[in-house]
């Protein structure tokens, strides 16, 4: 399913965080949203699933603008993996993942057998079967990230949005999450958008990158064509060398020093 932002503007108070951003997430692709701290990446992500009121422009999911979808209907096609989640009471992993089924359960009946089977499948897919009965507050960072992904997957979405999913994960878990995101985007009718800080991972895994800088989308396209020394200087304010990794064939960014005039 298609997800598109048209001239999205959004601000906290008077200061605009997004100043007219347009992008389109196409079926089958993994889209990486990158940019320096404070560029508006997380805000844009929140706009894309209706968590943030817009001050201008619109977000279109499928054929309809987001406000014309009900909240339950959105949750059935669009899943979000947030940076963090703090359940007030330490529920078991199985139950926490099961709450991803909410929008597909009967409104007042709670989960059915079908929902339970779907949860089992998600637990298996993310390798969480052994942890299913553990309380969510006893997990490591990497484990809890997998639980958050499993919860979003339980929604059976066509579109998945990831908000900095590899932050604070070790190398192995970073690869795990990126592999999952790419595999998800390759499913029939699916697509995924991922907010990343690590440009190397972004260049290696994403089909297209969007570079957000001070509320504007300043560059967009395939990683090889998008990431340039000039862009890194202008947007991130660093002198960097771009090298191609012989092992992966992907661009690798080596930051050298702060640029004199950012």
């Amino acid at each position: 399913m298609k997800l598109a932002a048209h001239e999205v503007r959004c601000g906290y108070g008077a200061q605009d965080v997004l100043r007219g951003v347009s992008l389109e997430l196409r079926e089958g692709e993994l889209y990486g949203l990158v940019g320096p701290n404070g560029a508006g990446k997380s805000t844009l992500l929140r706009c894309l699933y209706g968590a943030q009121p817009l001050s201008g422009g619109e977000v279109v999911l499928g054929e309809r603008p987001l406000p014309r979808w009900g909240r339950r209907a959105i949750a059935r096609v669009l899943g979000v993996v947030p940076q963090r989640s703090n359940p007030a009471f330490p529920v078991a992993v199985r139950h926490f993942v099961g709450m991803g089924r909410f929008a597909r359960e009967p409104l007042l009946g709670g989960p059915t057998r079908e929902d339970e089977r779907a949860v089992d499948a998600c637990l298996a897919e993310l390798g969480l079967v052994a942890l299913a009965d553990r309380a969510v507050d006893e997990l490591s960072g990497g484990e809890f990230r997998r639980v958050l992904i499993a919860q979003a997957l339980a929604q059976e979405p066509a579109v998945l949005l990831f908000d900095e999913p590899v932050q604070q994960l070790d190398l192995k878990h970073q690869l795990e999450v990126m592999e999952f995101a790419r595999a998800f985007a390759r499913r029939a009718g699916a697509s995924a958008l991922i907010v990343l800080h690590d440009l190397g991972l972004a260049a290696r895994y994403c089909d297209r990158l969007g570079v957000l800088h001070a509320g504007h989308l300043v560059a967009e396209g395939p990683p090889d064509a998008t990431l340039t020394v000039e862009l890194l200087r202008r947007v991130w304010g660093v002198e960097a060398s771009l090298e191609r990794s012989p092992a992966t064939g992907a661009l690798h960014v080596v930051p050298l020093r702060e640029a004199r005039d950012a």
Binding site: R71, V80, V91, H95
Partner: protein
Amino acid sequence: MPLRRRAPLLALGLAVVLAALVVSLGVGVIDVPFGEVLAILGGRDDGASLHRTLVLDMRLPRAVGALTVGAALGAAGVLLQALLRDALASPTIIGTAQASGFGRVLGVFVGLGYAGSVGLSFVMALAGTLLVLATSRSRRGFPAQTVLLTGVNVGMLFAALIGLLQYLSRDEGQLSRMVLMLLGGLWQVTWAPLAWIAPLAAVLVAAALLLARHLDLLSLGEEDARRLGQHTQSVGTLVLVLACALTSLAVSIAGVIAFVGLVVPHAARRLVGPVHAALLPASALLGGLLVLATDCVARTAAQPNELPLGVLTSLIGVPCFLAVLHSMARKGAAR
């Protein structure tokens, strides 16, 4: 947890409560053997004994009142804790019960009938709780410290208003009715109001149970709940109204009984876990059981006198609450 897996646990809980009911009907200044209690309840006795009057007209309404009050407060505590995402929330902590007590007394002061005072008590419970929520709401929900401090203050406000009404009352009879009403006890319970309050409370608890899954989502936090498809605003409002209605029914029967709404959800969470489809019925049953048992002690411990129920629940509740706080503080330190 689906119903088929909850059913045995629920049945066990109900059985325990029923057994406690029979025991409570038998004990008192005059003990009635349990066999006879069962015979009286089943209509198999001679039909005119002193014991029959004692069991059916004096002890049964009181026991039903105790179960109603306990179940209502236990459920209200669970609802408020899910809404505020805070295990320390309860009707007395955040001022709902005091506001409700003020409404009840105000009803007496202005000369409303029983049902009218109950209605006013509900309105005040809602007003007081909304005041707390509106004051403490931040962009990210309800910060626990702010809610608790605001709640304590609003509770004091309504306690002061109750004092003002009592001061303004010119009529000795009215004054003594106000004081007794809020002392926290079940000795004045009669069938007439109970006949509609108990079923109404049962309906409200059942309605809350229908929302069990929504309570699970709500306690994830507003942001997460919305992301997963919940209309948090309307569900939150509904949960608030249910909690206030249950609190005002309990206060109308027995005055302000502290700590049941706080301690019972905690105990129930230890027994059956945090999933609301199990937690809510467990809290209602456990709350009923606790108030019934405490009232039995209140009636019998200092015969022929009676201890105030509200005082007893506080004597039990305060140490439990302190234990909870202590364990939370230690957990916090470990993190």
